[in-house]
Amino acid sequence: MKRYEQLPHTADIAVRVYGRDLKDLFTNAAFAMFDIIADLEGFKESVSIGVELEAASSEELLIVWLDELLYNFYTKGIIFSGFNIAFLDGKKLSAKACGRHVRENRNRLKTEIKAATYHDLNIRESDEGCSVDIVFDV
């Protein structure tokens, strides 16, 4: 199954993310974001952080999760590429994100993402899995 694909968007970057279930969808959304930020080919993780988050709905939790990782990318200088979601119920999330420091991987950086936006956010769930379109402000 494809993890994500980029969609045409005039001003920003939009992606359609797929997942077998909600956990898989959140994992792939985080992967998509860092795949846009940096070249993740052959990337080996060496550091990790723990994340505990809450929000009012799955959609809001998804953006809170992405923005939390983005905040850590900018302030701790870590490019994340591996995500392990231990708990996710639509309003709460507990996860571990693994990556490497930017300083030793500066040549991998591609695109600055300012934020994951809430624009037209709608998680679609069906028997085959789930998908969501996310617009990143770049």
């Binding site: 005039t10 970057i13 359609r16 300012k114 809430y118």
Partner: protein
């Protein structure tokens, strides 16, 4: 077109009623909940590309927000944004439940542009262009992950947030005259650092004096056309003269503030009985603790951005001084003006015979005050506020002035060329080509920090800025003064 593109690229099928050659109305009957009409400034040619975008729907969405007066407006460089369209202008009556919305100002609070004149000509600059561009590229931190040289302690940081560009001037990074020629004199009153989270401080602290990436740039240009001799004389420019343009904003500091307040406002929509057609339009009444808190924080980000552009201009002046071995004053490097194009402001307008205090949102739109406006520097009162419109890196940029007729747009006009192609499409269209080579053939030197920036920012990815400026000039909401052609460009 793939199935996905068909789903996403919805062609507008709603009503667009022609008012005149440059104005088109989306009547409020189009969609339930619209409180006012939508109005798009465009000619038939630009309207074609606007219709193949989701932007008109976003104009209609904005028209549903509480307290909106007159119209939900869109400038001719309008394109699909998140929440509100880019190129959108709307104003809210704060005594009638009028709102403020972080998403309708944007993540890059006070993204804006400044134009610096020089007394140099192309003849002076051409032989030194490599030296200048390399000097700028090495001296100005640009691109993703770059860090600024200006480091301050938390107490100084708070001073930046309340004093804006005056902080840089107090450190010797510019002159008092620079402040005179900056919108709001480089700082909005009422900035409240206590409304800024620790996280925003953390994201912003290493980024003062950095350009950023994507469409942020420094451009050395030549004045190629003068349309209004009198105004150009007051600005101190003539044909052949060299100018420098700087485009940047509030960096991670502003992005974090927008993100946090957008989320907070989503949680209080019910409390104020507000429903929004798109979560990104989350808002709160200006006259509410939440609305007021955001405004205090937004002003901090706006001031951070003015300080940032002041620091960037200082770095540019240092390189010119080094290359030409003269002080920037002797090089005539005066600031013509600095404008914000992502911001909310409180301005008074006459609405149905009554003076009202409105919260005017401009997202990808420029304030354009008319001649005689009290907020203008004395020197510009006879001609109106300078409006700086960057185009793409291969064609032109413009200098315009505000007009009285722009009262109909809450004294607002366009902000740039507006994108025509997505970044992805632009990269595909440029595959196998050398954009820097193509521009070099046109006499334009470019350098970019990001590896795909040049393809993403290729001239063809943008609308022709001539077309955009033609509309605002003909519609009378601002007036052409001069056109500049790029000589050298640094992209983030």
């Amino acid at each position: 077109m793939s199935r996905i593109e068909e789903v996403l690229v919805q062609t507008w099928t709603g009503p667009l009623e022609k008012i005149d050659d440059y104005r088109w109305r989306i009547p409020k009957s189009y969609k339930s909940g619209m409180r006012v009409d939508g109005m798009i400034y465009a000619d038939e040619h630009l309207l074609e590309s606007i219709k193949h975008d989701r932007a008109p729907e976003q104009v209609a969405n904005v028209a549903t927000l509480p307290g909106i007066v007159k119209y939900s407006l869109a400038m001719p460089d309008i394109h699909w944004g998140y929440g509100a369209p880019i190129g959108g202008v709307s104003a809210y009556d704060i005594d009638e439940g009028g709102i403020v919305s972080p998403g309708m100002i944007g993540y890059d609070i006070n993204c804006g542009i400044r134009l610096v004149k020089t007394d140099l000509t192309e003849k002076d600059v051409k032989p030194r262009i490599k030296e200048l561009i390399n000097g700028l590229y090495n001296h100005v931190p640009a691109g993703l992950g770059s860090e600024g040289k200006i480091r301050v302690n938390p107490e100084e940081e708070r001073k930046i947030l309340t004093r804006g560009a005056a902080w840089a001037v107090s450190r010797g990074f510019g002159t008092k005259e620079d402040l005179e020629y900056t919108e709001e004199k480089g700082a909005m009153e009422g900035a409240d650092p206590s409304r800024v989270s620790e996280r925003a401080y953390q994201r912003g602290k290493k980024q003062s004096g950095t350009l950023g990436s994507g469409n942020h740039f420094i451009e050395i240009q030549r004045v190629s056309e003068i349309y209004d001799v009198k105004a150009a004389e007051i600005f101190g420019i003539e044909k052949g003269q060299i100018t420098v343009m700087i485009h940047s904003g509030s960096r991670g500091f502003g992005y974090q503030i927008c993100d946090e307040y957008s989320k907070d406002m989503m949680g209080i929509l019910n409390k104020y009985g507000i429903s929004v057609p798109d979560r990104q339009l989350a808002c709160a009444p200006v006259k509410s603790p939440e609305g007021w808190a955001y405004i205090g924080a937004m002003k901090c980000a706006a001031n951070y951005a003015w300080n940032n552009r002041q620091c960037l201009m200082h770095l540019v002046r240092e390189i010119f001084e080094k290359v030409f071995k003269k002080s920037f004053k002797n090089l005539g490097m005066d600031l013509i003006y600095d404008v914000a194009h992502n911001i909310a402001k409180f301005e008074k307008y006459n609405i149905d015979g009554k003076e009202k205090l409105l919260c005017v949102h401009r997202k990808g739109a420029t304030r354009a005050f008319p001649p005689g406006h009290p907020d203008l520097p004395e020197k510009y009162k006879p001609i109106g506020q300078p409006v700086i419109i960057p185009g793409d890196m291969g064609r032109y940029s413009f200098l315009l002035v505000g007009t009285q007729k722009a009262e109909e747009t809450f004294f607002s006009t366009c902000h740039g060329a507006g994108r025509l192609m997505s970044r992805k499409t632009a990269v595909s269209a440029c595959r196998g080509r050398s954009i820097s080579g193509e521009l070099a053939e046109k006499g334009i030197t470019v350098m970019a920090a990001g590896r795909s920036t040049l393809a993403e920012e290729a001239p063809e990815a943008y609308k022709n800025v001539n077309d955009v400026v033609h509309v605002v000039h003909e519609a009378g909401i601002s007036k052409r003064v001069a056109r500049m052609r790029p000589i050298a460009v640094i992209k983030g």
